[in-house]
């Protein structure tokens, strides 16, 4: 395999990881835009998405419906998105809304605590929840070759599904009425309320979108690695938040750019740096810190004016 081939291969891998990170980052940036809160439990909804899919798999098993037809896959995706967003809205109403007016420290810690509670609930409620759980291969097997690079169909489909989700979010935010409500609240919540935007409903729908998108990312992650684990949301949350910040907190396209960048940084540092494989995330986080020092508003973020 030539150097260029290797670069190409890692680029594809990076894009795939990046799409998943982007989907998580979109949630962070939406919540920050609408509620001005960083929801650290968001990573755990990503985990919850994959576990909900597992629940549905066992339900389908019990009903004797085991094939990998398109309908089956769609059922898993849609079901998991619906279940995860129900949990998302419920937990927000119970835990996040009461602390919206509180100082940032409190909301930070509440959402971290909520994350622990969700993670542990999954661990306790699932049979042998502490062990990694196998995830079914939902997408067709096989591969094709371009030059010296082997590309699996599965990976291409993951990439396509991720991009479709991103397009869907883009359309919802920009082309629908509720999308303009979300943008209005993000810009100025008081003015939006005066113009008749239903705040409660907008918040709920924001969390439905965020959780559903995170659930898709969780399922894609499960398909990619072939297994899921109850605590995978913690690191995914940190990466999603990092990606949202690199891109510019509050900007959806920033979150997508940030996620792709983070994925590429991980795979490329693993490929190019001498001790990169184990330390790939160290380099990625180092870049995050550098970003925060030199461009704290991110790539696509707006300027803030509160420097002293």
């Amino acid at each position: 395999m030539t150097f260029l081939d290797m670069l190409f291969q890692q680029g594809i891998n990076g894009l795939m990881l990046g799409v998943m990170y982007s989907l998580v980052a979109v949630g962070f940036t939406l919540y920050f835009g609408v509620l001005n809160v960083i929801n650290f439990s968001h990573g755990d909804f990503y985990m919850l998405g994959s576990f909900m899919a597992l629940v549905l798999v066992s339900v389908a098993d019990a009903l004797g419906w085991v094939n990998n037809s398109l309908a089956y896959v769609l059922f898993l995706f849609a079901g998991s998105m619906i279940l995860t967003s129900i949990f998302g809205v419920l937990s927000t109403r119970l835990a996040v809304k009461p602390v919206l007016k509180a100082p940032m420290l409190i909301s930070l810690l509440v959402t971290l605590g909520l994350g622990i509670a969700i993670r542990e609930a999954v661990r306790v409620l699932f049979p042998r929840g502490s062990d990694p759980k196998g995830f079914p291969a939902l997408f067709p097997n096989g591969a094709f070759q371009i030059g010296g690079v082997l590309i699996r169909y599965e990976n291409i489909i993951i990439l396509i599904v991720g991009i479709l989700m991103i397009v869907a979010v883009h359309l919802i935010i920009n082309k629908t009425k509720i999308g303009s409500a979300i943008r209005a609240v993000a810009q100025d919540s008081e003015a939006a309320m005066m113009m008749g935007v239903n705040m409660e409903r907008t918040i709920d729908i924001t969390f439905i979108i965020g959780s559903a998108v995170a659930a898709v990312a969780g399922i894609l992650n499960g398909i990619y690695y072939g297994q899921v684990m109850f605590n995978m949301g913690a690191i995914a949350g940190v990466i999603g938040f990092s990606a949202a910040v690199i891109g510019g907190l509050g900007n959806i396209y920033g979150a997508i750019v940030g996620g792709l960048l983070f994925g590429l940084m991980e795979t490329l540092s693993a490929a190019l740096l001498p001790i990169g494989t184990e330390n790939k995330r160290v380099f990625a986080f180092l870049v995050v810190i550098l970003f925060l020092i030199f461009k704290p508003t991110g790539i696509l973020g707006e300027k803030t004016y509160e420097r002293v």
Binding site: L105, L109, G113, E120, I235, V238, F241, V245, I293, V308
Partner: protein
């Protein structure tokens, strides 16, 4: 201070009240250790909730109690010291709880440092476990590879942690709020990944056989043998922990009551106002960040010597989270609150081992519920009142000086 009662009228009953409360709290704590089973835990939790509700409902009760403790500070202090000193005797049969108590002490030491950053200066630090790792690995490596005496490694662990916190110097000064939180989280993850992968830190196996602490040739790893009876070697560490906690608590108290403490509170409450009154924000933020991390590093170094074995899972993000919870739940910028918070958050989960599978679930839920209903912590922060001394000072100024002089002092 209009609430404080005139002296002498109630002094006898005040003394009884203060001593009674002190001994009751102590007895409850010891009962938690010594009595098996979950019911004592339920009793304890109900009592703590009752006290916190009562003190909220009847504020004058709280001022009366704190006045009672203040007026009888010497007696209650002496009784408190005696009670703390006899703990190893009471826990003679359960070294496990003695160990947990020492661990709680370590959390108190680290939380005192974190409180300087988070409580006093309002700087988020979610990497406290990573800084603890610096202290622990410094102590471990120095004593394993170079054979340095543990007294020195303890101090070195603390100082090296302070030095390493300068690594975060630029990001800490340039970011705040959510961004500072992210910087510290990223740093925390980086440190744990590096500890896992670097060779000289022993990788996932960590460092083994770190020699126990010793002082003038007396090894703290030996059982105390008094001839007729003997005490587990944790007793040594218990007393060392007490000494260190007292030193750090006094240091933190002095910082709190000094102009540094007031300066930090100004920075925390209103950065713009602080800057316009001529406070060098960056200097103080950096200073307190380093000093706080020195406290945290000391705690890590102590842990390395006591347990003798450290590895990356000891210093994960979850530990940072526990420390931040201690500071916020105990009560920000409040040393007594830190101690209560550490006891609750470190000892209660241990007691919950009875229902061990659910304890982190309960921990997460309790954290969320507490923060929603009691966001200011168990012992809420109160604005400083320099009652008598401030009045004296104002009197003096009235007599002696002109306006310009007072302004200088305030600045």
């Amino acid at each position: 201070m209009k609430t404080s009662l005139p002296k002498n009228t109630n002094s006898r009953s005040d003394l009884v009240l203060a001593l009674g409360l002190e001994i009751a709290a102590y007895a409850l704590l010891m009962a938690l250790f010594l009595i098996e089973g979950g019911w004592i835990l339920i009793v304890a939790v109900i009592l703590v909730i009752a006290v916190s509700v009562l003190s909220r409902r009847y504020p004058h009760l709280r001022t009366r109690i704190s006045a009672a403790f203040r007026d009888n500070a010497k007696i209650t202090g002496a009784v408190g010291i005696v009670l703390l000193l006899i703990v190893p005797v009471l826990l003679k049969s359960s070294p496990y709880w003695l160990f947990m108590l020492v661990t709680t002490g370590l959390y108190i030491m680290a939380a005192l440092g974190l409180n300087l950053q988070l409580g006093s200066a309002g700087m988020m630090n979610l990497a406290s476990a990573a800084f603890m790792a610096f202290g622990a690995y410094t102590a471990g490596l120095l004593s394993l590879d170079l054979g340095v005496s543990p007294v020195i490694t303890l101090i070195a662990g603390s100082l090296v942690t302070g030095l390493f916190s300068i690594l975060l110097f630029v990001p800490v000064l340039k970011t705040k709020g959510h961004y500072l939180a992210l910087v510290t989280i990223a740093f925390q993850f980086m440190v744990v990944i590096l500890l896992d992968n670097l060779e000289f830190t022993g990788g996932p196996q960590g460092l083994k056989n770190i020699p126990p602490f010793n002082l003038f040739g007396y090894s703290f790893g030996t059982t105390i043998n008094l001839g007729f009876t003997s005490f587990h070697f944790y007793t040594n560490y218990y007393y060392l922990m007490l000494v260190l906690v007292v030193i750090l608590a006094i240091a933190a108290q002095r910082i709190y009551h000094s102009w540094i403490g007031v300066t930090l509170a100004t920075i925390r409450d209103d950065e713009v106002a602080a800057k316009t009154s001529g406070i060098e924000i960056n200097k103080w933020r950096l200073l307190i960040f380093v000093v706080g991390n020195c406290f945290i590093g000391l705690s890590g170094a102590f842990y390395a010597h006591m347990v003798g074995f450290i590895s990356p899972p000891n210093f994960t993000f979850e530990k940072s989270l526990v420390l931040v919870s201690i500071v916020i739940l105990g009560g920000m910028d409040n040393i007594f609150g830190i101690i209560v918070g550490s006891l609750l958050l470190v000892l209660l989960p241990e007691k919950l081992r009875v229902i061990s599978d659910y304890r982190f679930l309960i921990y997460g839920l309790v954290l969320v519920i507490m923060l929603i209903f009691q966001p200011k912590g168990i012992i809420p922060y109160r604005v400083r009142t320099y009652g008598q001394s401030l009045n004296n000072w104002l009197e003096k100024i009235k007599h002696t000086t002109s306006d310009s002089n007072t302004e200088e002092k305030i600045g």
